[in-house]
């Protein structure tokens, strides 16, 4: 079951790299977040404690409902629906994504960590999410796409955490979740301000500060 979720996560990353419609991208990231929220519950299905259940519920609520809501609000303010001519075209993005997937599997095998989790797909999937998120931040122009890239990166790091640290202290996980929430919140407000000031949210056009 864990394997299936991780394969689905990899497919959602590929879909993100190929998607040009921002609304679809936000939904895909939400689905990814929800699936990853289920991971620790599945990994500990035998000794399910209140803290895991609460964390899973919190993660799913946050990533599945709150983040999309914040981002859709930012989209509506900016009145955009699609990505603009990205730096790297969509088919090339898929090919780069496949190369990144191969690299993640290769790297995952050589990383000197023993996966505590139930599946050997955890480390490659985590690395792939991180690389896909970085690629989105670098290769896309709309600010909302960059926020999505950051979220995908956080998802990847979270997957990594589930895999290699047997039990993270509850408070730390809560802190991380809170940080992610505040980050998306802050970025949403930033996008609103940028749109109001510049009348666009294409970050490649923010280039007045040089040198």
């Amino acid at each position: 079951m864990t394997d299936l979720i991780l394969v689905l996560v990899m497919l959602t990353n590929l879909k993100l790299l190929a998607s040009s419609e921002l609304g679809a991208s936000i939904r895909v990231v939400a689905v990814q977040g929800v699936m990853l929220g289920l991971l620790p519950v599945l990994a500990h299905v035998h000794d399910l404690s209140l803290h895991f259940a609460a964390l899973a519920v919190g993660t799913i609520a946050l990533k599945g409902a709150v983040f999309p809501w914040l981002l859709f609000r930012a989209l509506r303010e900016a009145e955009v629906t699609r990505e603009v001519e990205p730096y790297v075209g969509y088919i090339t993005s898929i090919l780069v994504g496949l190369a990144a997937l191969a690299a993640s599997f290769w790297l995952g095998g050589r990383l000197p960590v023993s996966t505590v989790g139930a599946s050997s797909l955890l480390t490659p999937s985590a690395l792939f999410s991180i690389l896909a998120g970085l690629f989105l931040i670098v290769a896309r122009k709309r600010a909302v796409n960059q926020v999505l890239g950051f979220l995908v990166m956080e998802n990847g790091i979270y997957t990594f955490g589930v895999g290699i640290v047997a039990e993270m202290p509850f408070l730390v996980e809560l802190g991380v979740l809170l940080d992610a929430f505040v980050a998306v919140f802050v970025m949403g407000i930033a996008v609103y301000h940028i749109n109001r000031e510049f009348d666009h949210i294409e970050t490649n056009r923010l280039d007045r500060l040089k040198g």
């Binding site: 960590v113 960059q146 290699i164 640290v165 039990e167 202290p169 730390v172 940080d179 301000h193 040198g211």
Partner: protein, 505 residues
């Protein structure tokens, strides 16, 4: 028990002040409350830090909060900078209020975020749990993001967006590193809450998985290095520091960069002991430090904007501190000394730049020419701080840089020595080339000469005097405190000449 309560208060006081600031009605009251709250925190913090430096580490909250010599020293320096900057903010925004450039909403935003950032940075220093330390750093990124665009302009928004995105990505990498450090304890049988406690990791450092630690350190250095402004991850720094209002730039350069570097310093003894004391991690630090110095030197040569120039100076000095920590031994001592010196100096420089910018209406150095004639007090402040920044004797920065040079010489790292001197030399020439016309050139703008008040004069004189005094004489207790702090980082052997590829003495 009393100390434990104090540790909790250190976070609560700024948090409460920040919340309070949101409720008040007059901008002046808000600024005043903010200064008062910061003042209380400074007093409390110095008391606790003094206690720790005298009698040893203090911990609270089931060992989740912990203050030892290193964090106490850094806490002390931070509170000094925060105190000075809050006083300056009173002056700076006071002028803006008089000219009606500051609205009530902006004042509330500024004060609450200012206090919130103080609380977050305090959290970084007093937390023993490396995960919570990470949460603190990420919190500082998010809270200070909007401090950059208190005044919303196109450039400040651009700077803020770059800052938030680049630093969040960097700090996310740092979290990967934290996870890897946690994973390196696999097999030691530690209980879950202890896995990320620094004291536990420090105690077990020799038995951690070295390969894991190496991978972790790379992520941590790149991640926290982004936040600290190490090249080549420093791209956000010039924009953010130049677009933020002067008090905020002072805090950024004066303390936030050091906070991120402190996080790296926390990991150094663990990584060193874990990788068998081969100096692997230290060599990485030296590399990044040198790159930062050289990159900053290159960019300083052709700056037009005063605050951008100061921002690149920050990159250079963070590089020097990193280099010092990497050299070990005397270098670590000098690096910690340098954090104090650089913070004081940079803060003063930003104070001056800010006030002059207010008077002249611009930060462009050609338009600011002849500042000494128009505003003698701040002109002296600016020139003095610029001189100190480039390492002129007998200011304290000269002493700390000299000590780092000596450490490099002792280790036989001749190449490091040469590159450092080259970079410092370029910076010297470049910055002086900017500074002299700035202060004594022909005044091109018609500006009313402004008289500086008592508080402003104090804000200029105090740091300069401190820097001069420390450059000439290091008080005994201060030296002991510095050594205690440095010992936390370097309880391993200093880097040997052979491992640096230098001449064997």
């Amino acid at each position: 028990m009393k100390h434990e309560a104090l540790l909790w208060l250190l976070i609560l006081v700024p948090a409460v002040t920040g919340a309070l600031a949101l409720l008040l009605r007059s901008a002046r009251t808000i600024l005043g409350t903010m200064c008062a709250g910061v003042g209380i925190s400074v007093a409390l913090g110095w008391y606790v830090a003094g206690k720790v430096l005298v009698s040893g580490p203090v911990s609270a909250g089931a060992e989740w909060l912990y203050l030892d010599a290193l964090s106490a020293y850094n806490l002390g320096v931070m509170l000094l900078i925060y105190g000075l900057s809050s006083a300056y903010a009173w002056v700076y925004f006071g002028t803006e209020l008089r000219e009606e450039h500051l609205t009530l909403k902006q004042a509330r935003l500024f004060a609450s975020l200012w206090c919130g950032a103080l609380a977050a940075m305090t959290l970084v220093f007093i937390s023993n749990n490396l995960g919570i330390m990470w949460v603190g750093i990420e919190a500082t990124t998010l809270l200070t993001g909007f401090l950059i665009c208190v005044h919303v302009t196109g450039e400040s928004l651009e700077a803020m967006w770059k800052y938030i995105l680049i630093c969040s990505v960097g700090v996310a990498f740092a979290f990967m590193g934290t996870l890897l450090v946690g994973a390196s304890t696999h097999g030691l049988g530690l209980r879950a809450p202890e896995v990320l406690l620094w004291t536990t990791l420090h105690a077990h450092a020799a038995s951690l998985n070295p390969a894991c630690l190496k991978a972790a350190f790379i992520f941590l250095l790149v991640g926290y290095g982004t936040k600290a402004g190490l090249a080549p991850m420093h791209n956000w720094l010039p924009d953010a520091h130049s677009q933020a209002p002067a008090p905020v730039s002072a805090i950024f350069s004066g303390f936030m960069l050091n906070t991120a570097l402190y996080c790296v310093m926390r990991y150094v003894p663990i990584v060193e002991a874990g990788t068998g004391n081969t100096g692997w991690g230290l060599r990485l630090l030296i590399g990044f430090g040198l790159i930062s110095i050289l990159v900053a030197a290159a960019f300083i040569l052709f700056q037009h904007d005063l605050k951008r120039l100061l921002a690149y100076h920050s990159v250079e000095h963070i590089g020097i501190i990193t280099l010092g920590v990497g050299l070990g031994g005397l270098g670590t001592f000098a690096a910690l000394f340098h954090t104090l010196n650089h913070s004081l100096c940079k803060t003063l420089a930003f104070f001056a730049a800010g006030r002059l910018g207010q008077m002249f209406g611009t930060h462009n150095m050609t338009k600011l020419a002849g500042a000494m004639r128009v505003a003698p007090v701040w002109g002296v402040g600016l020139f003095g701080s610029l001189l100190a920044l480039i390492g002129l004797a007998p200011f304290a920065l000269f002493m700390s840089e000299l000590q780092i040079l000596k450490a490099a010489m002792d280790s036989g790292a001749i190449l490091v020595l040469v590159l450092f001197l080259f970079g410092a030399g370029v910076v010297f020439v470049g910055a002086l080339g900017h500074a002299i016309p700035l202060v004594w050139g022909k005044t091109t703008a018609t500006v009313q000469p402004a008289r500086a008040g008592v508080l402003e004069t104090l804000l200029v004189v105090l740091p300069l005097v401190l820097l001069l005094v420390l450059g000439l004489w290091m008080p005994g207790p201060f030296q002991t405190a510095l050594n205690a702090a440095a010992d936390v980082i370097r309880h391993v052997n200093p880097v040997s000449a052979v491992s640096l590829g230098g001449v064997t003495p």
